[in-house]
Symmetry: C2
């Protein structure tokens, strides 16, 4: 049975990239690796839309989130955390593990944060050192308007930190132009390679903040990483086969172009949303991200059985809900190495699963809606 | 030009493993991955010779070292650190980054620690919480006698922590029998896979110490890792292609058997040392490890030029010295996926390099010595 991933990470990896990573192992102290790493770092700046260096860490995305916290802050600092899902909550957990005081803005899962709510907190709490937020909240498919948030934070001395782990390469994000101080992401998302690498970029103001930070750090010490980067190296042995794959993926991304990349993800998301609507289903997210589509599943349908049927009978892996949304939603990712026919496939599989679960709908209506949308677009 | 790695990590990766890792990407929440991870965890216990769980981290070996420090200790704890090279010094750096007081035993690089020196410190400093040491010090090729050290530490309440990053799979280490509390290693060494994973095992006493530890942690939180391991998962998305490769590597190791594995490394190391002697050269290490052979290079030979010649003209990558030993030694690793003919190749290349550098010796004497040694053994 052919297997297809529609999960928000890991995402499909192009076979060319898998084979490139399977070439005989090399050594990170060789000029060849240094060339690859230099090219990779330039292309990461292109993807991140920043003139600042983008640091590569050997860890999951959570490691880069921890790097942001431990490099920017000092014990007892106060920060604002936007919690609208599992990954917003993770910012709070990391901060609390390090004794940072958090002021949360809690949002119903599926909703996006109102930028004015951030303004209100900043007015009341003048000593907020940093704002931790999420571009695309992967647990709900909700998109936060980082440009609008940045416009508010700009006049405040607090640093704006954005988890763009699934957002990078899908939604526009201009750290230098908008004044976003820290951006983090991971490798197994829009970057189309296996998990094991994470990335973090810092504004010049954030780099300055590092000098004041007193939280303990060693493996995730970004000053050390920046220093070794000048020598085309990482402070610790990097996951070098993944960096070799990353270099290929970034060349593909650069060839496609950022506007086309964002437009493709928007197109695929819109087609998916059109299909969901045609099937009589509803989206969880008020402002849905183009990363994934979170669909409310009617209580008459056994969501666990639906996911299992898709996985075991059709080879289609779709994510379920997390925490209190478990059993209530499914999440179809259209992230990374995806095209029109992948969406038609996902919708086709969803219809077959829903039919198996005796959900009442007109067979073919979802596929027809996605197809019509895709054909109407150029 | 064929390229060959004789570096103490990354080490050669069997092509079968590279190709296994190049198979279509899977997802870590699938039953297939859970089966692989379960099998891997069992085989890690076999390799580590422990009944305790071995935790897999997505990081370099340094990440596992940091995990040991932040999970065992609390601010202002006092620890003993054996510093006989770059990696012993790293234990001290990590401890100091977290505000731990260190009592160092400094050894000349190339020497091994005397177990009685550890006994003396423990007698004087009753409040030592942990002893950080290194089995095979990769920067010098010196072997420390962990069994003898463990025998001394056994009667003390301090925890014994061993960096076995290059030692695992090369030198015997019996954490449960000898009472070694913490063992750490990395993936790109004896485990024969690319860098990106690290491993740590803890004794029951060390697991108890975790309950008291007050240093901050999140990504490297081992209690969280242990809890998710029960569900055949990791707390954060793991470098799953590397785990798939690891599973294959561990099956190879298990098939070979631990005794055979240690004996093979001993044989290859002895052959290399016989060649070095025949060439009129000296070893740096007083008690050389079977991981790598560190060779003192006479001042008449330009070590940098020698390494460059080996690398660029012969495709043979050998490591130089680190810190103050730079330019004074070369390090030939015989670690991991290595056999007799690899050693003959390394010695042959070394002779050609030395000849090019006008070092005075009888051409063929090194190869002859290695060959004689290998033929005399069964």
């Amino acid at each position: 049975m052919k297997k297809r991933l529609f999960t928000p990470g890991p995402t499909p990896v192009p076979t060319e990239i898998m084979l490139k990573m399977a070439e005989p192992i090399t050594h990170h102290r060789l000029p060849l690796f240094e060339e690859v790493f230099t090219e990779t770092n330039e292309n990461l700046q292109f993807l991140f839309q920043t003139k600042q260096p983008v640091i590569t860490l050997t860890s999951s995305g959570t490691g880069a989130m921890e790097a942001a916290v431990v490099n920017l802050l000092s014990p007892k600092d106060k920060v604002l955390v936007v919690r609208g899902g599992k990954f917003g909550a993770r910012w709070a957990e990391i901060c609390q593990a390090y004794g940072i005081e958090i002021v949360p803005i809690d949002i119903e899962w599926g909703k996006s944060v109102s930028p004015s709510a951030i303004r209100d907190v900043l007015k009341k709490e003048a000593d907020i050192k940093a704002i931790f937020t999420t571009q695309s909240e992967t647990s709900t498919g909700a998109l936060n308007d980082i440009e609008a948030i940045a416009a508010i934070v700009k006049d405040h001395k607090a640093l704006l930190v954005v988890d763009a782990i699934t957002g990078i390469g899908v939604h526009d994000l201009k750290p230098d132009d908008w004044k976003v101080d820290v951006v983090v992401t991971g490798s197994q998302k829009g970057l189309m390679i296996p998990p094991g690498l994470a990335f973090i970029s810092l504004s010049s103001q954030a780099w300055e903040a590092l000098e004041q930070s007193k939280l303990p750090k060693y493996y995730f010490d970004l000053k050390k990483a920046l220093k070794t980067m000048d020598k085309k190296q990482t402070p610790w042995t990097p996951a070098l086969t993944l960096i070799i794959g990353l270099n290929e993926a970034l060349k593909m991304i650069r060839k496609e172009g950022l506007e086309q990349l964002y437009a493709r993800h928007h197109r695929l998301a819109e087609a998916t949303r059109a299909a969901v609507k045609a099937l009589g289903l509803e989206l969880l997210a008020e402002h849905p991200s183009n990363v994934l589509t979170a669909i409310n599943i009617p209580s008459s349908v056994d969501t666990g059985a639906l996911l299992k049927y898709l996985r075991d009978k059709l080879g289609i892996l779709v994510a379920g809900g997390q925490n209190h949304l478990k059993g209530k939603i499914i999440r179809i990712a259209h992230l990374g190495y995806m095209d029109d026919f992948d969406i038609i496939t996902a919708v086709s599989a969803l219809e077959r699963g829903l039919n198996q679960m005796r959900y009442n709908f007109k067979i073919g209506s979802g596929v027809e809606a996605a197809q019509s949308f895709l054909c109407q677009q150029k």
